[in-house]
């Protein structure tokens, strides 16, 4: 039951419309089926599988809207959920920011479903864990990792005739290797919609290499350094900043994209001209549904073009107020880069620090997009174009806005992991601010 094809999903959603007595009705049907395995201390610790399917019905009378859902799909249950959402709509106060539901759209089709991933079984997961644990044991290291796979679908239909369907698969793998003398730690991750493109053993080897290389780190003074941030080290800072491309917050004066004295910084050059960031649901390496959760089509949108803020995203209400197109928030992200590998970025660095990942990133000041966090699982000093030795982890306090103005070089974009369908290059940044040292390994 968990995964329905397009026709099966449509058939259930049409029943919702048949029972609806509201002025406007919109129904979403979502399902997922997946499994996972977790290991630590070189042994499997937990594993499981979960299936779930949910029908969400939103009914509207004028500006009053109510929502109800159910996870049973017989005729009686479907009628019941429709009646419930109608009751809630009558109880709700009018929302002055109400906007009528979307009419039909044509959507692109992204290819995100792969049979190979859909057919993963517990044995596959167990073998992936074993293939990670074995090399750890041989190298006096301890592996802790997690593999999660699943198939999910989303479908929607509304009383104006809008219908949308998307199905995808994904397999996410991450592993931390720690040397048995507890002085070295390495981490690596990989993600694929098509599991035949996922190499968990190679990922494990990358983590192991980092762990072995990072033993007996030296302490450097905190301060401003040139850094090479690997894609997984940059991604959260950049995606946090992109998450703040909300037009309403900017218009209201409470965003880093608000202009002093009123208005927004749309159209301003705020970043180095090599910075271009866009979203495209049909991108083959980061495919996502070509429609937003309220049915708006996701098109290719350039958010930052050669350093210039090009677009902000809007709720449908705010777009109506501002009399602009209601661009939905991005479903994925692609930051353009260059052709260099991380190794080549290192080669062209006289003095700097290579950062594998950043951890526990939290906003310090939304006004300047200032974030704090720490380096983790592989931090190295570079001199004369070579990695010289591992260094102790640092705490940073830095803004991606400042970072993207202090850009030295960009690497080749690559897909980063799971929750982030994002293509991100490694970045060489000057004057990155480390504010204290950490003893953590």
């Amino acid at each position: 039951m968990a995964i329905l094809n397009k026709d099966e999903a449509r058939s259930i959603l049409e029943k919702v419309m048949k029972y609806s007595q509201s002025e406007e009705c919109e129904a979403n049907l979502n399902g997922n089926a997946g499994g996972n395995i977790r290991y630590a201390l070189n042994t499997v610790t937990t594993a499981g599988q979960v299936n779930d399917t949910t029908l969400v019905v939103q009914s509207g009378f004028g500006k009053r809207v109510g929502t109800a859902t159910v996870n049973e799909f017989d005729e009686g249950s479907i009628e019941k959920v429709v009646r419930r959402s109608e009751e809630l709509a009558r109880l709700a106060p009018e929302n002055p920011e109400w906007v009528s539901i979307e009419g039909p759209h044509k959507y692109g089709a992204s290819r995100a479903y792969f049979e190979s991933t859909d057919s993963i079984d517990p044995d596959y997961r167990a073998k992936a864990a074993a293939g990670s644990i074995e090399p750890a044991k041989k190298n006096k290291a301890t592996a802790a990792g997690f593999l999660e796979d699943g198939t999910s679908f989303q479908a929607m239909l509304n009383s104006k005739g809008l219908f949308a369907y998307h199905i995808d698969t994904g397999c996410d793998f991450s592993v931390t290797m720690r040397t048995d003398d507890l002085t070295g730690s390495g981490w690596a991750t990989s993600y694929a919609n098509d599991v035949s493109r996922l190499d968990t053993e190679a990922t494990s080897q990358r983590a192991l290499d980092k762990a072995l290389m990072s033993r007996d780190a030296k302490a450097l003074e905190p301060g401003k350094y040139t850094v090479i941030l690997e894609p997984n080290a940059c991604v959260q800072l950049i995606s946090n900043m992109a998450g703040a491309f909300d037009a309403r917050l900017a218009d209201e004066g409470r965003s880093f994209l608000s202009k002093d004295g009123g208005g927004t910084r749309l159209g301003e050059k705020m970043f180095d001209e090599r910075v271009t960031l866009y979203s495209d649901p049909l991108h083959p390496d980061v495919p996502v549904a070509a429609w937003d959760q309220d049915g708006r089509p996701r098109e290719r949108v350039v958010w930052i073009d050669k350093g210039v803020v090009k677009n902000l995203f809007y709720s449908r209400f705010w777009a109506q107020e501002q009399k602009v197109a209601a661009t939905p928030p991005p479903g994925n992200g692609i930051m353009e880069g260059g052709k260099k590998s991380t190794a080549e970025l290192i080669k062209s660095t006289e003095r700097g620090i290579l950062v594998t990942r950043l951890w526990y990133i939290r906003t310090v000041d939304p006004q300047t997009q200032l974030y704090t966090g720490l380096t983790r699982d592989g931090t190295f000093y570079i001199e004369g174009g070579e990695i010289k030795y591992p260094v102790k982890n640092f705490r940073f306090n830095e803004s991606p806005v400042i970072m993207l103005n202090n850009l030295e070089e960009l690497g080749t974009p690559e897909r980063v992991s799971a929750g982030n369908p994002i293509m991100m290059p490694a970045m060489k940044i000057r004057e990155f601010t480390f504010t204290s040292l950490s003893d953590a390994v």
């Binding site: 859902t69 009751e87 310090v364 705490r395 806005v401």
Partner: protein, 542 residues
């Protein structure tokens, strides 16, 4: 529900409205209908039998009904009213000495039995790679028992109109007192959990929690500066009575703080004035300061620098791939002289404090809950551990801190309430401040970050007041303090007495893969920490 989905649902994250994408949303009155105990027991027995027949040496089944209600507003508008329900069964088994878990929302008896067999099949598949068989501490079956959070007013019974009216008053008072924007929310939780195990437990629990946060923002359009002040409310394991605004539960001072009853309207008025004041408050001079930390702030520092590092699974390496490990290693504990903090510092864990988020009678593997010491007179004395872990500490009984955030999640060791015992000598916050020459008084929790072994941390706050020669000089801004856990707790120089003891807490403590949240409280009285490094967080962007 994780924090990200909560933000999405409430529209706080993206400034947009969203419908829930999972969980069954139901009419308010349905949330009050009691679950059928006999039916749950029958389902659970069916699962346990199926697991045993498939070869499990141990099994537990959790039939869970998880209810939430949100009322989400901004300024004059109600943005969303949502009732959610999630119902299903999770079955955990041991087969061939290995854990297996499966969950289903298909509550037909044969489907639940199939999920139990799936859990056994998973355990068997993984047992090939298992090196250390599961070693469960003994736990006597509880028989048929039940427990409910001792609430005075069931928040789910309060009409939606009353909730909307209250938030509209909060918002309008904030706007009338200088706020440019406000988001305010009621977030109600009811976990109806039925636990059964092959050891003879049938435990039915009805757990209630409540949170009433708001976020007030003031904007200076001229300079483009904006500042937000969050509510000083705390999430609690209480009913609607928390929102009565009982004057006897107010703690007066530079701003009112709240003990067991919260005055949301009063706090919103204060927040609006303070958000405006923050726009022009002077920027802090970085350096060493003595910090006076209010319980509304200190709970988060306790959470990050004591709660997490003393989770035994982290100490041992089970969380290495996600949240990390811990500096508080077993050798430090075995030495019996690891000075975690100064001699004043006594930290204890519990799942029993009335009104706390962690309070239940039994944990999610059927163990009776209790209180125990973690740090005694500054020395590390124990950890947090569950049934399959305590043997590693040469202890015979689980501490009773196992939790799963849903029927669909596997239960594992989660942080209980972890609290700092108040000082034994009479001392008020005002008296504490009088002894400080150069310091900062911090109220409310803000930005927080700590490394993966819990050494180096950085915390912000909501309100910062500079102290000079024993007196509060005025508000300052751009404050964050950085320290090292052991250094920080050893700098603890004074503790207010128990009359100042209050709880803070989090609805969204994250841990595990796949990620799970849990709600946890941390109590303390106001505490002083000497010579802590304070940085200035102001920056300029082009």
């Amino acid at each position: 529900m994780d924090r990200r989905r909560f933000l999405k649902l409430t529209g706080l994250g993206m400034g947009t409205l969203a419908v829930p994408v999972s969980g069954r949303v139901i009419a308010a009155e349905e949330l009050l209908s009691p679950g059928d105990l006999a039916h749950k027991q029958k389902l659970a027995d069916m699962a346990l039998d199926a697991a045993k027949k498939a070869g499990a040496s141990y099994a537990d089944a959790r039939v869970g009904r998880y209810l939430n209600q949100f009322v989400v507003t901004r300024e004059k508008n109600v943005q969303n009213i949502v009732n959610t329900e999630s119902y299903g069964t999770g079955i955990r088994v041991i087969a061939n000495g290995t854990w297996g878990f499966a969950a289903t929302n298909d509550m037909k008896p044969e489907s639940v039995a199939q999920a139990a067999r799936d859990a056994v099949a998973i355990a068997k598949a993984n047992s090939k790679f298992q090196t250390n068989p599961v070693n469960l501490a003994p736990n006597k079956g509880a028989g048929k028992v039940s427990w409910a959070t001792p609430i005075k007013k069931n928040a789910f019974e309060i009409p939606i109109k009353d909730k909307v009216d209250m938030l509209m008053e909060v918002n309008s008072k904030a706007m009338a007192n200088g706020a440019d924007f406000i988001n305010s929310i009621f977030f109600l939780v009811n976990e109806q959990k039925f636990f059964a195990s092959t050891e003879g437990s049938y435990i039915d629990q009805d757990v209630h929690r409540l949170w009433a946060p708001f976020f007030v923002t003031a904007v200076d359009k001229e300079t483009g500066k904006f500042r937000t002040r969050q509510s000083l409310s705390q999430p609690v394991g209480m009913g609607w009575e928390y929102l009565d605004g009982d004057a006897a539960e107010k703690v007066p001072g530079v701003t009112n703080r709240y003990r067991w009853s919260y005055d949301m309207v009063e706090d919103a008025i204060a927040a609006a004035k303070q958000a405006k004041e923050k726009l022009t408050a002077p920027s802090i001079e970085p350096g060493k300061y003595d910090l006076v930390l209010d319980p509304s702030h200190l709970w988060l520092t306790i959470h990050e620098s004591v709660g997490h590092p003393l989770e035994l699974d982290r100490v041992l390496g089970y969380e290495a791939n996600y949240a990390g490990t811990s500096f508080a290693t077993l050798d430090k504990w075995k030495s019996r002289d690891f000075q975690y903090g100064s001699k004043l510092v006594n930290l204890y864990a519990d799942k029993i404090q009335p009104g706390s988020l962690g309070a239940v009678a039994y944990d999610d593997e059927g163990v009776k809950t209790r209180q125990w010491d973690l740090v005694k007179d500054g020395v590390l004395v124990n950890y947090q551990a569950i049934r399959d872990q305590v043997h590693m500490l040469d202890q015979k009984e689980s501490h009773g801190c196992c939790y799963a955030d849903s029927w669909s999640s596997v239960q594992f060791q989660r942080m209980p309430n972890v609290s700092l015992a108040p000082g034994s000598k009479p001392l008020t916050p005002d008296e504490m401040i009088k002894d400080v020459e150069k310091g900062i008084y911090i109220v409310g929790a803000g930005s927080y970050s700590i490394d993966q072994q819990r050494y180096n941390f950085q915390f912000g706050g909501q309100l910062f007041y500079e102290i000079e020669n024993g007196e509060i000089k005025g508000m300052v801004e751009d404050v964050a303090y950085q320290s090292n856990t052991q250094e920080f707790w050893n700098s603890c120089a004074a503790l207010c007495d128990k009359s100042d003891y209050r709880l803070g807490g989090s609805f969204f403590d994250g841990k595990g893969q796949p990620g799970q949240v849990s709600a946890v409280s941390h109590g303390s009285s106001t505490a002083r920490f000497d010579g802590v490094n304070v940085i200035n967080t102001a920056r300029k962007i082009g």
